[in-house]
């Protein structure tokens, strides 16, 4: 169990803001941190990691106190059992893939663990390559493998997949789930991608202007008006074209583009870029397997 109460005054582009968070996270939860840029998500992760010092509050991780302002306890980032994957990966450019991992290995004799991590993340073949020559997806894997070398309890991911293409994203999402389960981690991930959150997280925390505004399962947060017996697909309206008396709406959901015919009355309510739901009133829609 992680008990987190933190507050810090931030000077952001929108003016001064009070980051104020009171949160409990159970072990082995996969939490998605969601919200506008500048809501304080990255600062929150950095406070958990000990990179940024909060003004007030405490962080209790199981039986350990990582931070307690009143008791004047501040554990250095080195001593917290965390793995942090940065948005820009922050790989050490002067080292190879293997060296990036071995450099941070606490027990230098335990080289088998490095091999195991390279194997799990599919990097064994690239072990002796310089990290500067890797693709985005490969760099992301190295960053993830490196963050696990210390065998952390808490894995912090700052938009780890945001700069990757869709195919690579889906692949790495699978790997993240695998790793999260394999190592019994508690994971907190910043993400802006609803479909990603659906696939990975069991809890979503929505932040706005330094505060937690909503918290719950992805279903509760994104589809709070769910009606059973209906098919719902969430997406974004890409284009709207009139065709005789009907309109054709193109809606992007995940990486699927769908064309839907809608009426003039429906079309008048919508603007390009809106988040929309495709709702089918069919009682039993067909579900067909196309790939095992």
């Amino acid at each position: 169990m992680f008990e987190i109460q933190l507050s810090k005054k931030l000077h952001s582009a929108q003016g001064d803001m009070l980051l104020d968070i009171d949160l409990q996270i159970s072990e082995k939860q996969f939490v998605a941190l969601y919200g506008k840029s500048g809501a304080g998500k990255t600062t929150f992760l950095k406070m958990l990691a000990g990179i940024t010092e909060p003004d007030k509050g405490r962080i209790i991780a199981g039986k350990e106190t990582w931070f307690d302002k009143e008791k004047k306890i501040t554990l250095s980032p080195q001593k917290r059992k965390i793995g942090f994957v940065f948005q820009d990966y922050a790989l050490f450019p002067n080292m190879s893939v293997r060296q990036n991992l071995e450099f941070v290995l606490p027990d230098k004799k335990n080289k088998n663990f490095v091999d195991e991590l390279l194997e799990i993340t599919g990097l064994a073949g690239l072990a002796n390559t310089s990290v500067t020559t890797l693709s985005g997806g490969q760099q992301q894997r190295v960053a993830l493998a490196r963050a696990l070398v210390k065998q952390p309890d808490l894995l912090l991911l700052d938009e780890p997949l945001s700069s990757l293409d869709n195919e690579m994203r889906l692949k790495l999402q699978d790997e993240l789930i695998k790793i999260h389960k394999h190592f019994g981690l508690t994971t907190i991930m910043i993400s802006h991608d609803t479909s990603e959150i659906y696939r990975l997280a069991d809890t979503v925390i929505k932040m706005d202007f330094g505060k937690i505004v909503q918290q719950g399962s992805p279903d509760l947060l994104f589809h709070n008006h769910q009606i059973s017996g209906k098919v719902q697909i969430a997406g974004q309206l890409i284009s709207l074209v009139q065709n005789d008396i009907v309109y054709i709406a193109q809606i992007l959901s995940g990486n699927n583009l769908m064309k839907v015919i809608i009426t003039k009355e429906e079309a008048e309510q919508l603007n390009i870029g809106d988040s929309v739901l495709i709702v089918s009133k069919a009682f039993n829609p067909s579900v067909i397997k196309y790939k095992a």
């Binding site: 000990g50 990179i51 250095s76 980032p77 080195q78 922050a90 050490f92 210390k150």
Partner: protein, 219 residues
């Protein structure tokens, strides 16, 4: 014949070595600091770049003089006289060349992603190990620029050594002063010898700097 040149190179080597030891940590501190007085420090460090060397030399002359506080203090407690001595030249060169080490190295540190340091810390690496094994190896081109510029700039100094060195052969008569001396005594061949060596050296250094492999932003 070679004495003034050797003296110049010795002075430059020692100055560069000292500036590496004090300049790199100072440049790192400047790159990280959010201190309100930082612009003041930066201005003081950069002063030798725009100040006429004779001005710097004049004030060092006053400071080193045994008649004044600092010079008297050194003389009485350490029996050290910096005026007209090689040690004095070293101290003056360190001050004079400070910005040429600090600027490239500081900008090298500033161009590193801040998450590099944060990542190392969260991965359990101590600040000391992070500095020497992660940060320093990744600013190598900037470090090299700093070393080369400092060395070259010290070889080329004239005004400061003229003011405080006293032009003593074998002690403070460096190559740039020797050229001036030889010209004064109409000895153009000797002046040409020193000048050619310095010209060739400067060209090689610049060639080295502009070589694509090591090309970095200096300022």
């Amino acid at each position: 014949m070679w004495e003034p040149l050797l003296l110049s190179f010795t002075l430059s080597l020692i100055t560069t070595a000292i500036l590496l030891v004090i300049g790199v940590p100072l440049a790192y501190w400047l790159s990280q600091s959010k201190n309100k007085l930082k612009p003041v420090f930066e201005s003081v460090i950069s002063l030798p770049m725009i100040l006429p060397p004779s001005v710097l030399g004049f004030y060092l002359l006053l400071a080193f003089s045994p008649n004044n506080f600092f010079g008297k203090f050194l003389d009485q407690y350490f029996s050290v006289r910096l005026l007209f001595s090689f040690e004095g030249l070293i101290i003056a060169s360190v001050i004079y060349s400070l910005p040429f080490m600090i600027h490239p190295v500081q900008s090298g540190f500033q161009n590193l992603s801040p998450s590099l340091k944060d990542a190392a810390y969260t991965l359990g690496i101590s600040p000391r190990k992070t500095f020497f094994r992660v940060l320093i190896p990744n600013i190598k081109p900037a470090l090299l620029t700093g070393i080369v510029l400092t060395f070259a700039h010290t070889v080329g100094e004239f005004g400061v050594v003229m003011m405080i060195g006293g032009n003593i052969p074998g002690v403070t008569k460096v190559a740039s002063l020797a050229i001036y001396d030889e010209v004064e005594s109409m000895n153009y061949d000797a002046a040409n010898f020193y000048s050619l060596v310095l010209l060739a050296l400067s060209f090689v250094i610049l060639l080295f700097l502009f070589n694509k492999k090591w090309k970095t932003k200096i300022f």
